[in-house]
């Protein structure tokens, strides 16, 4: 057995162990930390499977942004859980839940084991048509060209999630700003991190989006990094989030799906079918769409993390 194989097996066991620890962890905060570690290990697994694009997304979204969301949820639930008290289920529902879980696990295991040895693959076709898109990264080609409609709908889901979060606001806060207001004297350590990291992070985010055309990276990963920079600056309370009624904010949120949809319809008119790109112009069109997607992602994720508006809207900028 080679060293690399031994490491792979060790990594697989570690993933299982951390997953089990996360499930059995007592507190919500401990479980969240376990989940973040699990996500980072999983991105190592993806790297070992040579799926660097997926690894980047797992680290940025699965572990990073979701981790922040879950920590926020755990902090918010801390008071509620102790007030309600620990209430455990009685025997019958518990048995039902357990048997349902076992059924799902068995079904998944059966599906995995019943896969044909040589799985059906679209990889040769996608590589053959890669030159027509002008891209070098087949993953980006799949996301923005081959299955453009799915990707567009994913961005719509993101906007709907933000709308869902905003609608949890109290009536008097509707249209106000989420998160904490800007502090007179921000916490110095966090402010230092935000000031040093944010310029670098913005550069790295744009770089990862830009190289995504030819190498691992892309709109989602780049957008997530930009979003993280905004979240850090807001967390350090160097700045505050805009009012949710701000027109530019709402426009930035829908810009990604909107531009995508317009490009799709334009494809139907000029290139012969819905979401078709004109030959020779595919790459510029794809990058144009992706730019607006980066914008929407970079705006949507901080809004999800910040939660519903908690301050009353200001009128005309004056209180």
């Amino acid at each position: 057995m080679s060293v690399l194989k031994a490491l792979d097996i060790g990594l697989a066991f570690l993933v299982f162990a951390v997953a089990a620890w996360t499930i059995f962890a007592r507190g919500a905060f401990a479980a969240t930390v376990g989940y973040v570690v699990y996500g980072l290990l999983l991105s190592l697994v993806w790297i070992r499977l040579f799926a660097v694009d997926v690894a980047l997304t797992e680290a940025a979204i699965g572990s990073g942004v979701t981790g922040v969301l879950l920590i926020g949820a755990a902090a918010r639930l801390r008071g509620a859980a102790s007030a309600a008290g620990e209430k455990s289920l009685s025997g019958a529902p518990r048995l039902l839940a357990a048997s349902l879980c076992i059924l799902v696990v068995l079904a998944l295991a059966a599906v995995v084991l019943l896969f044909p040895d040589q799985g059906p693959s679209l990889a040769p076709q996608s590589m053959r048509h890669l030159p027509e898109t002008g891209l070098g990264n087949p993953v980006t080609a799949v996301l923005i060209a081959y299955r453009a409609f799915d990707t567009m709908l994913e961005k719509v889901v993101l906007v709907l999630a933000v709308v869902g979060v905003w609608s949890l606001a109290a009536d008097r806060c509707w249209g106000g700003a989420p998160g904490e207001p800007r502090a007179e004297r921000p916490e110095p350590t966090l402010a230092f991190l935000a000031q040093v990291l944010a310029p670098l992070g913005i550069l790295i985010g744009i770089h990862i989006f830009w190289v995504g055309a030819d190498e691992p990276g892309g709109a989602f990963q780049g957008g997530a990094i930009l979003a993280a920079m905004w979240i850090i600056v807001v967390m350090a309370r160097l700045t505050e989030l805009p009012q949710t009624s701000a027109a530019w904010l709402r426009l930035a949120l829908v810009a990604g799906p909107l531009v995508f949809l317009i490009a799709g319809v334009a494809g139907a008119i000029f290139a012969g079918s819905f979401f078709a790109y004109p030959p020779g112009l595919a790459k510029p069109v794809i990058l144009f769409i992706e730019t607006f997607m980066v914008l929407s992602i970079a705006v949507a994720l901080p809004m999800l993390v910040a939660g519903p508006p908690r301050r009353e809207p200001k009128v005309d900028g004056s209180r």
Binding site: T189, L190, F192, L193, L197, L200
Partner: protein, 96 residues
């Protein structure tokens, strides 16, 4: 085994040792502040030595610069997180 290989092995081995020592400290030290102390040594010195060992093996100058940048960013994040955790511990008293 060339000289470069020898250098890489020695540096990465030393880096792994610091990670091991940091992990042992994290598990064995009695209170939060000293555990934090053990952890930051693993981050800074351990990763620094691993990066140092990998530097001569990088294919281009850009790749080498990226490795150094990763180390610097981890330093920044690790130092800040340690400061924040340390401050939280001090505020709560040494209950943790």
């Amino acid at each position: 085994m060339s000289l470069v290989d020898l250098f890489s092995t020695a540096a990465i081995g030393a880096g792994v040792f610091f990670f091991l020592a940091g992990t042992v400290g994290l598990l064995r030290f009695p209170d939060a502040l000293s555990r934090l102390h053990a952890l930051t040594k693993a981050d800074n010195l351990g990763l620094g030595l691993v990066v140092l060992g990998l530097l001569p093996r990088s294919t281009s100058l850009l790749a080498a610069l990226k490795l150094v940048a990763i180390w610097a960013l981890v330093q920044l994040a690790g130092a800040t997180a340690a400061q924040l955790v340390g401050r939280a511990v001090r505020r709560k008293g040494s209950a943790a």
